[in-house]
């Protein structure tokens, strides 16, 4: 499983290690380049200085090192080493420090001196510079004749290039290019660079280690609220969802998560509460008629009665039984609908005809209550619905209107076709519902005011069932109540299949 803390720490450490490595390498290379440049410049200066001590005398090229008596060149082991060659690779001079060793000849390309790391005869690392120059001519002071003898072996203080009488016609000797290699012990520089490298590496490692450690601590500490949040969520009790996840950690990044969770909990709590109260309400709705049934029968049996009295008892019992049956059937339909087990067989249905059909069983009740029924049925336009389900909707709405209308009040049944839908409007007078209450009429088992006083058919299932079915049929249902006590339900159902619109006629 991916760990936020681990990937955060790992990424940060990797990044900082890369930066440190690059920075360290840059510092190392810059310092190294500076040191070498410094070394080279010193070498070059010395080489130029030394080259000035090489002269072209009338008898050949000679050095004046004996005058200089330069320290460092005289003892074996250096730290300075010097060697000269003539053009033809004839060795002109070797410093005493070289002993029997030789320096590698470095022929510079053009005027720029050539530099190279070399291994000195002492076995140590040295930096060497090679220059090629034309010694200056000094014939005047050449008063110290030396036997023409090539000094190809030991070079003494008074060594000299053998005079081979190569004088030109002006009495000048021909110019000889001399290649000089000057090497200097650079082991201390090398050592310093090694030390620098080690120091840089150590600092880098230390920085990475400290960064990693502190990151680990910081990341762990920062992620602790997540653990606590998880613990709180884990500690939630399904029986009490009203407990909110606290915000004592006050971590801004977790705020939206906590808010969403609390929202979800609130919604769940509401749903659970509704579910619990629904069960309680169903129990009440079933218990109450059962209690009535039992009481009627028991009181009826409690003493010797006439046949007529028993008939009353039986009629009362039958009435309650029918009410209970209707309620149980509505409950079952609602449960099936909510479980998604009801499918609509869509076909053209004639709403006006269906309404008249559904009205038949209610006519007697409406007349008994002295209701004035107003019919405003528009032209018969078939709607796309399931005739059984739409019939159930219409029966429930009509029944609701007849039951809730005030005594000798009015019921208006209206159909309006147009704009792709047919509206079925059923209104009744005598409503005492406030606009706030109207929103509840589609809730299961919700009953307002007067409806509360009866149980059975009018237990608040009809309209929620109607809404569920209309939604399944792809229509809509709304309710409204005005100040004049008129309560109206409007069901809108499409008069064609949705895909027909695309396919055309």
């Amino acid at each position: 499983m991916r760990s936020l803390g681990r990937s955060l720490a790992f990424g940060t450490i990797l990044g900082s290690a890369a930066v440190l490595l690059a920075g360290g390498a840059a510092i190392y290379l810059l310092v190294r380049a500076g040191l070498v440049r410094h070394l080279d410049r010193g070498l070059a200066d010395k080489a130029v200085l030394i080259s000035s001590a090489v002269e072209q005398g009338s008898r050949g090229v000679r050095t004046e090192f004996d005058d200089l008596n330069m320290r460092g060149f005289m003892e074996p082991g250096g730290p300075a080493y010097l060697q000269f060659w003539l053009d033809d690779d004839t060795e002109l001079y070797r410093s005493r420090s070289l002993g029997k060793g030789r320096l590698e000849k470095i022929v510079p390309a053009g005027a720029v001196p050539g530099y190279r790391w070399v291994t000195l005869p002492s076995g140590r690392t040295g930096r060497a510079v090679g220059i090629t120059f034309l010694p200056h001519v000094d014939l005047v002071d050449d008063n110290d004749p030396v036997e023409p003898e090539r000094t190809d072996k030991r070079i003494d203080d008074d060594d000299a290039i053998p005079h081979d009488a190569h004088l030109d016609w002006l009495g000048r000797p021909p110019s000889h290019n001399v290649t000089m290699v000057l090497a200097w012990d650079a082991s201390s520089t090398k050592q310093a660079m090694a030390v620098l490298g080690i120091v840089l590496a150590c600092v880098g490692l230390a920085v990475i280690a400290v960064t990693a450690g502190s990151l680990w601590v910081v990341v762990r500490r920062s992620l602790r609220p997540l653990d606590r949040l998880a613990a709180r969520i884990g500690g939630l009790d399904e029986t009490d969802l009203s407990a909110k996840i606290g915000d004592d950690d006050a971590l801004r990044e977790l705020e939206p998560v906590r808010n969403r969770l609390n929202d979800l909990l609130g919604r769940l709590d509401g749903a659970f509460r509704r579910e619990r109260s629904f069960s309680a309400d169903v129990a009440h709705e079933l218990r109450t008629p059962l209690a009535g049934l039992r009481s009627i029968i028991e009181v009826g049996l409690s003493r010797v009665r006439s046949g007529e009295e028993h008939r009353d008892t039986l009629e009362g019992s039958l009435q309650i039984t029918c009410q209970m049956q209707s309620m149980v059937e509505n409950l079952l339909s609602l449960a099936r609908l909510e479980a998604g087990r009801v499918t609509a067989q869509k076909e053209p249905v004639f709403p006006n005809e269906l309404i008249r059909e559904c009205w038949k069983p209610l006519r007697e009740t409406a007349e008994g209550r002295g209701l004035n029924v107003e019919w405003i049925l528009g032209p018969e336009v078939p709607v796309i619905a399931d005739s059984v389900l739409l019939g159930l909707v219409i029966r429930n709405i009509l029944d609701n209107a007849v039951f809730h209308a005030d005594h000798a009040g009015s019921v208006k049944i209206e159909t309006v076709a147009g704009d792709g839908v047919v509206e079925i409007r059923v209104a009744n007078s005598g409503s005492t519902l406030s606009p706030d209450e109207v929103e509840h009429v589609f809730e299961r088992l919700w009953r307002g005011g007067k409806a509360r006083s009866d149980t059975g058919i009018h237990c608040g299932l009809g309209l929620s069932l109607a809404r569920g079915i209309v939604a399944l049929l792809g229509g809509s249902v709304t309710a409204r109540s005005d100040r004049g006590g008129i309560f109206e339900i409007v069901v809108s159902i499409a008069d064609r299949m949705p895909e027909d619109e695309d396919a055309g006629e």
Partner: protein
């Protein structure tokens, strides 16, 4: 004894009303909480059978109001709510008994009678005053060992006087406890019934039990 039934489900309300009436109680019944409260406040009920889920004022509100007013009626809650919390809440708010629907009518009747005994501080269903014995369960009355046949109204009157034996009972109290709203108010109907009762109880030269307190009412006590 007078009972008020506040129950919104008409078939149940009517059958309870009928059953209680047949058991000799004066009964008023309503299906609305506010109306029930109004009935109860008008007084005289010995027991109120109260449903909790009611249109108008709900049962618990009614109960709380009645208890705040120190209404002397004993209250029996009859409801479909059966949880422990509901029972505890109902009893804690001052109800005297709690029954869950559906309930056997016999049990309801027995509990109403038990509440009446508690209200009049009588422990036994058999009430004795001198040589008068009243079995309040079977509605049987004996005087000196002999059964006295009484009508329901006469029995109710005698029972009320017997439960308050030794105390002066006013005509208003009698009216309040024996007659429900369906009874026609009549100024001397009580005197007439007391007359009937006296005649039936004083047969064979037995000494009078019901004495008239001029200007205030009647008292049932042992003959001196």
């Amino acid at each position: 004894m007078k009972i008020l039934v506040v129950e919104d489900y008409a078939p149940l309300r009517k059958s309870i009303e009928k059953g209680l009436r047949e058991a000799g109680f004066a009964v008023d019944a309503t299906g609305d909480g506010n109306e029930g409260l109004w009935y109860a406040e008008s007084g005289g009920y010995d027991v109120i059978v109260l449903d909790l889920m009611l249109p108008g004022a709900d049962g618990l509100t009614t109960l709380r109001k009645l208890r705040n007013q120190d209404n002397p009626a004993y209250i029996l809650i009859l409801t479909a709510r059966d949880t422990l919390e509901d029972r505890v809440e109902g009893l804690n708010l001052g109800a005297d008994d709690y029954l869950v629907k559906p309930v056997a009518f016999e049990e309801l009747l027995a509990r109403v009678r038990a509440l009446i005994r508690r209200k009049y501080e009588v422990s036994s269903p058999a009430v004795r005053v001198g040589d008068l014995e009243i079995d309040t369960t079977a509605h049987m009355v004996r005087r000196a060992g002999k059964i006295v046949e009484l009508t329901a109204r006469e029995y109710a009157l005698l029972e009320f006087l017997a439960l308050r034996a030794g105390q002066v009972v006013t005509r208003t109290e009698i009216w309040d406890h024996i007659y429900d709203f369906e009874a026609e108010p009549n100024s001397n109907v009580i005197d007439v019934f007391v007359g009937y009762l006296r005649r039936k109880l004083q047969k064979r030269g037995l000494p009078p039990l019901i004495h008239t307190k001029r200007g205030s009412g009647y008292v049932l006590r042992e003959p001196e």
